[in-house]
């Protein structure tokens, strides 16, 4: 059970957070021009690295703010 550092509220229990998966996946500028393959990649495919992962979290039971954090998917440790 992790203590996750919300950039606003400080360290809080993992249960207060909502996981949002990979960070930095931008919504396509113009989805209409994408091929079905490209669109499928945006909708469904996310990195799944074993190790360092830049990901989004929301402090859903606290300040409700989304933030980006870097975590190791093997040790589960957050970079600070």
């Amino acid at each position: 059970m992790q203590l996750i550092h919300c950039p606003w509220c400080g360290p809080r229990e993992e249960v207060e957070f909502h996981y949002g998966g990979q960070a930095g996946v931008a919504y396509p500028a113009d989805p209409a021009v994408l091929s079905d393959e490209e669109w499928a990649r945006y909708v469904f495919v996310r990195d799944n690295p074993k190790g360092r992962f830049e990901e989004r979290w929301s402090h859903s039971a606290g300040c409700r703010r989304w933030f980006t954090a870097v975590r190791d998917t093997v040790t589960y440790r957050f970079e600070r």
Partner: protein
Amino acid sequence: MSRVDGYGRIDRSRTLTFTFDGEQYAGHPGDTLASALLANGVRRVGTSVKLDRPRGITAAWSEDPTGLVQVEEPFPEPMLLATTVDLVDGLVARGLGGRGRLAEVPDTARYDRRYTHCETLVIGAGPAGLLAARTAARRGDRVVLVDDRPAAGGSLLGTERICGRSAFDFVADTVAELRADPDVRILPRTTAFGHYDDGFVLALERRTDHLAQPPRDVSRQRVWRIRAGHVVVATGAHERPIVVEDNDRPGIMLAASARDLLHRYGVLVGREIVVFTTDDAAYDAAADLERAGARVTVVDPRPGAGGSATHHARVVGTSATGSEDGAVTAVTLDDGTVLPCDALLLSGGWNPTAHLFSHVRGALRYDAELGAFRPGEPLDGGTVVGAANGTFDLAGCLAEGRGETPEPVARRTHVLWRTEGEPARQFVDLQRDSTVADIARAVASGMRSVEHVKRYTTIGTAHDQGKTSGVIASGITAELLGVPVESLGTTTFRPPYTPVAFAALAGRQRGRLYDPERTTALHAWHVEAGAVFEDVGQWKRARYYPRPGEDMEAAVLRECAAARTGVGILDGSTLGKIDVQGPDAGVLLDRIYTNMMSSLKPGRVRYGVMCGVDGMVIDDGTVLRIDDERFLVYTTTGGAAPILDHLEEWLQTEWPELRVSLTSVTEQWATFPVVGPRSRDVIGAFAPHVDVSNAAFPFMSWLDTEVDGVPVRLARISFSGELAWEVSVDGWHAAAVWRRLLDLGAPHGITPYGTETMHVLRAEKGYPIIGQDTDGTVTPQDLGTEWAVSKKKPDFVGRRSFARPANLDPLRKQLVGLLPVDPDLKLPEGSQIVELTDALPPPPVPMLGHVTSSYRSAALGRTFALALVKGGHARIGERLTVPVDGALVPVEVTGSVLFDPEGTRRDGEPSVR
């Protein structure tokens, strides 16, 4: 009796009576069941799981692999260790032969949890732990000190001396100092059973089992959730036996455990004792036992070890000749000597109790000198001290407790896993009856991994999780494979360190507190009105209000008829509501909804549909435009939280440039649809100053007003096709306004209705319920709501997915109506639909879709259903078959709108329009 005077910390002034295996015995407060049994000369506790061999007590505390009992009184509890059961008056227990028994009656004991925070958590109140706690406390830390036994002291048993004082005095003084510090919390009888990231430790406190009269309101057990800046693992070590032939008999135990039993409980485990050791510590035990009156023979194969009385030999077997309880009566040495005895104590060295270090991924390293795995790397956010760290001398433990590096001490453990003998009678895991022969078979079968050997032999999977057997299994496997132990490793330690009752982990999350019940401001009214409730997520919603003698069907037909012919009222307060404010509010909603929201005029209402990026419908509802920069979004009841999250996620992570803020107002507003041809009369009476004519108050418009000084919002929204208003009011005034509407509606026969009637009314009109008529695979087009999908907007969430090949398939499932040919037959919701047939072909039978909603309609005078059907829109007019309970029910496909398809009722009766 083998109780000796002058020893033990039990209260001999009081006697307790208990029953074991049907026999009554006496013991004392402070005894465990194990000590009391041994004091009464009971050495055989149970039988082994596989071979039915007699088993006794092997250790004095939680590492015991054999002394398993079933407690029957005061409350049945399966598989406990006699060594950890506090003796209380009236205790009834029996020895186990493998499986425990669960009570047939509910456990009424309380369990709870408690959070606490500290700078330093010390696990274990032995010499190292006590000093670690004292050091931290003197530094000014908030300290929590947990120890699993009733009293502090750990391995200190009173014969040692610390700084010139007896160890007991040292313990008492240190505990007294800690107790006097308000920033120190000492938790005895508390087992730290799990260690997690970021200094998080779970510990089980046994609060009442040792009490003669447990207080009723005090929890029996409590799970402490301790968040510590620094965790000091001072959990000591488990003594390691040496495997010899027939090493499983009662009377054979670990040397230090015998010493523990003597000093804590005044129990002398034998009068004629053989100690077989390859480690110096057993000599302390031998000396103490001798002093207490036993005759002790030490067998030690190490050259030069011990004194002149020591046999330099190995024990290679035991016998139980003439023993009624199967307990050991003699041991055989490798030189042929037979030593008669009534107890054999084994000591092959010590295994650091590194479980809590291992739980947080601390890597263990094999120490060939110790013959054990010990912490092999620094712990992030913690330290391991004393015996848990492989430091076994008292001075070293005290030094590590103080945070100092101890002087190295030469140790003369001779690593000996087993002696010669018949492998099939050399027990490695006594509880699993797993032997050296089993390991040999595993290795011969091709097993090379210690995990495979564990699974093949089941070593280490029993109640004790291999606390004393694990490393021996690794050692013997390595020997058999001819590889070093360190290359083989050991199996992973995982929480819990000792077994924990399910109820303790459930805590207070039981019964009414299992999961929150969410209720609306009218809940008390619903209860009084006799509502039958349904669970919708966490909400309790009134489903229908039966009158005396009515079943659900009768009540719903009555409620529906009222709404269609007179006036009905619903508590719709559970609908999610989100205040959307800011200059870009319209832009955000345009990107989220499939239709245009920015063009909505203040004072007006629009229905909207939302999709996920995959183009599937996730929610629907109405949107009120409050002013240029403000909207009120209604979501479904289930959608309230996820849709707010969905909006926040897009807004914050994708479009942070939009100047919009989102606020949940679900409980701020209570909302009551007032529905039916007479609703205008009720609303007119409720807000007499408001012009409720169609001209002044058209469909899909809203206004704010006041009634008796209370702000009220009225909206012409209809989820039933009838003339209807939604009355919204702040939650404080919800009950009063509801009662006012009922009073004013009474002359018009106003009828409260529940969710079931709401469902029927909307289904008659073909309005889908997201989550009932959809399942995450349905697009707006499938629902027949393409009219709500904007063609003008360049993009919105999900739009691009509509163009994927599978979404263009004409055979997609589409929402249609179904009319059973028999108008009295109600199709079960969930029924599957196949082509029209009077005999099903053999499976697999191609399925066309399923019934999503099905009701008996007062308005239609018959049953009807909604269904998702492959290519359904093109099948209108066709007949299909629905298998129901073995019958094949013919149904006709219709459009989804079955009642008033022209929409003539929306504005009420023509005379008053």
